[in-house]
């Protein structure tokens, strides 16, 4: 039982970290787009790339937590 609860705790922590990271990117991208709407599409592409990289790190952690379990 203990092991399972630790895995769940780890999963929760992973999600907190990833969502904080993606949220910060979203915030920064929104602000930048509001300041310079003419390069909004470039910012959007960069935002998606960085969000995907963070999501990748999160997925690694999720898979590791799943394998360790």
């Amino acid at each position: 039982m203990e092991q399972i609860s630790f895995t769940a705790l780890g999963l929760g922590l992973i999600i907190i970290g990833v969502s904080l990271g993606i949220g910060k990117i979203g915030q920064a991208a929104m602000e930048a787009m509001a300041r310079q709407p003419e390069i909004a599409s470039k910012i959007q592409t960069a935002m998606i790339i960085i969000a995907a990289l963070i999501e990748g790190a999160g997925l690694f952690a999720l898979v590791l937590a799943w394998l360790v379990n």
Binding site: S41, I49, A52, L53, G56, A57, L62
Partner: protein, 370 residues
């Protein structure tokens, strides 16, 4: 981003809301009758149902219901099973298994369908387990056309049906005539992928070499994602949410990136110019592992996103059966339609991200340093 903007524009407006309500109302009786049938059934296992739905299968189930006399009727399309065992090829339809009740002889051994997997057994059909309940029986070399493979073949046919007429018209009339028919849908998508994804990441003179591959990957993932969202017969297979599917596509990107890598790319990995020696000792292993983690993340991202989408929709529908009341049906149908809309966006987004990151990795490998 043109395509996303258009999606959002389509989703807005009063007419959409009316249609949405109409769909909700149409789906209500289905959910209600599903809820009523439940009382006869024994315990409902939501996790087992969901795992069954997102997994692969040897038959394409079309529908199953209990008729007036209380008999369970299952309508499904059997798919071919192709087994290579001890130098012997055996091809038969999966209906020979009778849903796992019957054994199929192959050489001296027998094949048995057990929990959607084919195992080799003896004449008695015994399946041996170890302490952790995993099966000890050997699996033969299995080249079967399963549900996912059939779904992939269908998506190939759809792609051919769309692209061959369009390509034929281009070769006949040239690219300067106004598009017509299939061209009208092909042209904006192809131009979007080429100009906004590929040419934005890869140097102009090299981009066209990789365009066919990346365009194929984009459309293949997109069509498989959308086919997976169709809840009834020709769709519904979780093909792009299958780890082997995404592994194959990521392996293509991995191979293409590394065989077309320039001298600079390999130097950045194994020499890391411009850093002192202690840092080099640290960075070279990291860069080397990075070669593999990039396609690995690509594989997991698509797999996790699509599978998670399917699991959410199925869980929301399962709420009706877990709570055993029809009054949650409106809520769960409404929520699952909302998730469906989100998943439709995600199926575009994941195809876009996979192609974008693939072209980014290829761009890192082939671009000249400025």
């Amino acid at each position: 981003m043109m395509i996303f903007d258009r999606c959002i524009k389509l989703a807005g407006g009063k007419r959409f809301f009316k249609h949405f309500l109409a769909i909700c109302c149409l789906l209500m009786p289905v959910a209600l009758s599903a809820g009523e049938n439940l009382e006869e059934e024994s315990e409902f296992d939501a996790a087992a149902m969901i795992m069954h739905h997102i997994g692969d299968s040897y038959e394409y189930s079309i529908l199953s219901f209990t008729n007036g006399r209380g008999e369970k009727i299952k309508v499904s399309l059997p798919l071919p099973v192709i087994i290579w065992h001890k130098g012997q090829l055996k091809v038969f339809m999966s209906s020979s298994f009778k849903g796992g009740d019957e054994l199929v002889p192959i050489g001296d051994d027998y094949l048995r369908l057990y929990h959607e997997k084919v195992y080799l057994t003896d004449a008695s059909g015994a399946i041996n387990h170890d302490e952790s309940q995993s099966v000890l029986n050997a699996q033969p070399i299995n080249l079967s056309i399963t549900k996912n493979v059939a779904s992939m073949m269908l998506s190939c046919l759809i792609m051919l049906a769309i692209f061959i007429p369009a390509a034929r018209r281009y070769s006949r009339k040239g690219a300067l005539v106004a598009p017509k028919g299939a061209q009208s849908i092909v042209e904006p998508i192809v131009l979007f992928v080429r100009d906004d994804i590929i040419r934005a990441q890869i140097d102009k003179d090299k981009a066209d070499r990789f365009t066919p591959f990346l365009l194929t990957i984009f459309l293949f993932i997109l069509i498989n994602n959308i086919l997976g969202l169709i809840p009834f017969f020709p769709g519904g297979a979780n093909a792009s949410g299958n780890i082997s599917f995404t592994l194959t596509l990521a392996a293509f990107t991995f191979i293409l990136t590394n065989i077309s890598g320039s001298k600079h790319y390999w130097k950045d990995v194994f020499v890391v110019p411009g850093t002192p020696l202690p840092i080099k000792l640290l960075l070279v292993p990291i860069e080397f592992i990075g070669l593999f983690t990039k396609p690995f993340a690509l594989m997991l991202r698509l797999f996790a996103n699509i599978t998670a989408g399917h699991i959410i929709v199925l869980s929301l529908i399962s709420i009706i059966f877990v709570m055993k009341t029809i009054f949650v049906a409106p809520v769960s149908v409404f929520l699952s339609i909302m998730i469906y809309c989100l998943e439709f966006l995600v199926s575009f987004l994941q195809a876009y991200i996979f192609t974008l990151l693939s072209s980014l990795f290829i761009g890192l490998a082939v671009n000249e340093h400025h």
